[in-house]
């Protein structure tokens, strides 16, 4: 782990003004922000841990808890909302058995929401990992999830 975090910090020239980008890269690497990585980050950049944690908790993109294998992101933007995005979210909560922000006990899925993904015309939109699913309806939720269950 140490080498990877060091490499990421090095990529940004140990510049603490690049903290958001560094945290994004760490999260991409581990799927969440592991405590050991944040400790190391604070030491390497010579900034207080409180500052690292204030950033990690301020921005909603970051997670301090380990996330599932697949990240299921339900768009809750206005364009999706007026076409019933909240019902899609509820349907996913029912089928996965977790609330938004939580991870299924088998660590397969983490259910998250996002405020806009930039493809509003196709709303309601769900994104699982890198795959987009547009014009979602309740009855499309199960077949969509089953693609990722294996």
């Amino acid at each position: 782990m140490k080498d990877k975090v060091t490499a990421i910090i090095k990529k940004y020239g140990s510049d603490s003004s690049q903290l958001v980008s560094i945290l994004q890269d760490i999260q991409t690497e581990y799927n969440y922000l592991p405590r050991t990585a944040l400790d190391k980050l604070a030491k390497k950049l010579d900034i207080p841990q409180s500052r690292v944690y204030s950033m990690a908790t301020f921005f909603r993109a970051f997670s301090l808890e380990e996330r599932g294998k697949h990240i299921c992101n339900v768009c809750q933007g206005t364009a999706c909302h007026v076409r019933g995005a909240d019902l899609i979210l509820e349907s996913l909560e029912r089928q996965l058995g977790v609330k938004r922000g939580q991870t299924t006990p088998d660590h397969k899925f983490t259910l998250e929401t996002v405020n806009c993904m930039g493809c509003c015309a196709t709303g309601p939109v769900v994104k699982i990992d890198d795959e987009f699913f547009g014009h979602m309806t309740n009855d499309k939720v199960e077949p969509m999830l089953s693609k990722f269950k294996e």
Binding site: V20, F58, G77, T78, V82, C120, N138
Partner: protein, 619 residues
């Protein structure tokens, strides 16, 4: 790739060569692979085109280009074929060989892939004849169709960076600023502040080091105009930025991009690399002696970071909390130095003004609101997508002429502009012009260009509650009026949607709104009341229905509605029985209406959506 361009002459020569290389004898296919086309499967279609062209050795006959957003997202994936300006929509992998055959053999357009507004109208073959496009004026977005956003050569071939060259060689910084002032360009991020005046203040501000910043943290839910521009034509934004930097006297720029826009991030990062290689960014640009560097910073999913001071705090590696702006950021911004921040769309307008002149630009649009504006037209409208219109166009023109009216023959109820800071405008205002001042007068605002259309099935109280919920989550918590005020307003609205409201709540909401407008630290808080105030002003009857009759006329607010089966309409097909997540519906045999158990119903609306006979009613 060409080597570093030493001067303006070298750039002009490269442009001439690249423009000449465009083979007009060849057929050109331009496929949209913007973010909105991807959920429709534009990626596999693009791969299919590439593979088929290679397999059949068609490279010398067909020029295939993968581009950014073409705008008409509703009909994606879309492609434009030249010659003929043929517009193909909803293309699948299976259509690819046929498109190639027809194109090379010049057999004429494939009828089934052409645009048709509805069953009653005729197909339209040419893109330039489709009402969605004819009513627009695509001076900023139009080039998306012509270029591969990952190729700087494509951009230079169509005259890209010629404005930068002109600015550096022929114009003095104050001449550029005068030009921008004369053009009447106003900030496209929503506020509408005159761009030229902002630049001038920043140029005159004390300090040797100044910064220019691109605000690409388009956090408005339901707006993706900046995404479409940054992904589809990143060099136009970059060119505008370098011109601005030269005019202001800045040598370092920042581009702050939402991390939720991976494609935009990728394309702008690549664009910077390419521009550096050609010497259009870096030291001694085009031999002018002007140096400029630029860096991309990613956001972390905080709406408040679209606010200038919060964005700058985030650029410094701090939490994105705004500060009071007694001293403007053009005087003291990033690292306490003069900083000029403009929206993506504002920067992209700059090369156009430098190339075509201030007078040309000021003639587009309306008085005091010159130029065009890109809107993301979404919601319950037939033709969703990115539209670019001259300012001053009527709301009606966008929604009905370009947007093709409301989906499914439903009735128009409201249009929401300006995101969470904007408001909902009713039918009686459809004739009002769309510009900074008129929208503000109506209680809404331009914002970064979201335009969400709502029909009779949308509840306006729920919409207000939705925005306040959003803002409550996104409030940074620094100032009390916003942190507490928005929360209380959201609680009151939630109560109303649950049938627990009182008429005096409306007065309380109005009073809280006034306090918030007066005392919140930044625009997130001070404009938060807009969705509430406009819905109370224009849709008071809906509030009254929720409060006095305990009814939601649109059938949205769960606590106030009841689902039931209309026996006469139900054929007993059982589709709803299978999809009901709580087994609340019982199958009673074919031709017998199903029975819905109210005690098990969770009002998820699945049966309502799936029933083709309209046998499920919402009361």
């Amino acid at each position: 790739m060409a080597s570093k361009l030493k001067n303006a002459k070298a750039l002009a020569a490269l442009h001439k060569k690249l423009a000449k290389d465009i083979d007009t004898e060849k057929c050109h296919i331009s496929l949209c692979n913007g973010t909105a086309c991807r959920p429709y499967g534009s990626n596999p279609v693009a791969e299919a085109f590439k593979a088929d062209i290679e397999k059949r050795g068609l490279a010398d006959k067909v020029e295939f280009k993968i581009t950014g957003c073409h705008g008409f997202c509703e009909r994606g994936p879309i492609a434009i074929v030249e010659p003929g300006n043929v517009f193909y929509q909803r293309i699948t992998v299976a259509d690819v060989p046929e498109i190639l055959d027809n194109t090379i053999q010049k057999k004429g357009p494939i009828e089934r892939l052409l645009f048709k507004q509805d069953a009653a109208t005729k197909t339209v073959a040419r893109q330039n004849d489709i009402p969605f496009y004819t009513e627009q004026q695509r001076i900023v977005l139009g080039n998306n169709i012509r270029i591969d956003p990952t190729s700087i050569e494509d951009y230079i071939a169509i005259g890209g960076y010629s404005a930068l060259s002109r600015a550096l060689v022929e114009l003095q910084p104050d001449q550029i600023i005068k030009m921008i002032k004369d053009s009447g360009l106003r900030g496209r991020g929503g506020g509408g502040f005159p761009t030229g005046a902002k630049w001038e203040t920043c140029r005159e501000a004390h300090g040797d080091i100044k910064y220019v910043i691109v605000n690409a943290d388009e956090g408005d839910p339901g707006a993706y105009a900046n995404e479409g521009l940054l992904t589809g034509n990143p060099h136009s934004v970059l060119e505008g930025l370098v011109i601005g930097a030269y005019a202001i006297g800045s040598h370092q720029g920042y581009i702050y991009v939402r991390n939720e826009y991976p494609l935009a991030l990728k394309n702008i990062t690549l664009a910077i690399e390419q521009a550096e290689k050609l010497g259009l960014i870096g030291k001694n640009i085009l031999g002018s002696g002007f140096d400029f560097n630029v860096r991309v910073n990613r956001g972390g999913g905080a709406f408040v970071c679209g606010e200038s001071t919060a964005l700058m705090a985030s650029l410094e590696g701090k939490t994105g909390e705004p500060r009071a702006k007694y001293i403007h950021t053009v005087e003291k911004g990033l690292w306490d130095r003069p900083s000029c921040l403009n929206n993506v769309e504002t920067w992209a307008n700059i090369p156009l003004i430098v190339n075509n002149g201030a007078e040309w630009f000021s003639k587009i649009g309306a008085a005091g609101n010159s130029g065009t504006k890109i809107f993301s037209l979404t919601g319950k409208v037939n033709n969703t997508g990115l539209v670019e219109v001259p300012m001053g166009i009527k709301l009606k023109g966008i929604i009905f002429d370009i947007g093709g009216g409301i989906r499914g023959g439903k009735k128009f109820k409201a249009v929401q502009t300006g995101g969470p800071s904007g408001g909902c405008l009713p039918e009686k205002l459809l004739d009002s012009p769309v510009d900074f001042d008129s929208l503000l007068k109506a209680g809404s605002m331009m914002g970064s260009g979201g335009m969400i259309v709502m029909d009779e099935d949308n509840c306006m109280v729920d919409t207000a509650r939705y925005f306040l919920t959003f803002l409550e989550e996104e409030s940074c918590g620094k100032c009390v009026p916003c942190r507490e005020g928005v929360k209380r307003m959201r609680q009151i609205l939630t109560d109303i949607t649950q049938g627990k409201g009182e008429m005096s709540d409306l007065e309380l909401l109005t009073e809280l709104s006034a306090h918030l407008k007066d005392s919140a630290l930044c625009a997130l808080g001070s404009s938060a009341p807009n969705p509430v105030l406009t819905t109370i002003q224009y849709f008071k009857d809906e509030y009254e229905a929720h409060i006095e009759d305990k009814k939601c006329p649109a059938g949205i607010c769960k606590a106030l509605i009841k689902f039931s089966i209309i026996d006469e309409k139900c054929p007993g097909c059982g589709r709803c029985v299978k999809t009901c997540p709580t087994q609340a519906i019982t199958f009673m045999g074919k031709k017998n209406p199903v029975i819905l158990d109210q005690s098990k119903c969770i009002k998820c609306r699945t049966c309502y959506d799936i029933c083709k006979m309209g046998a499920v009613s919402i009361e």
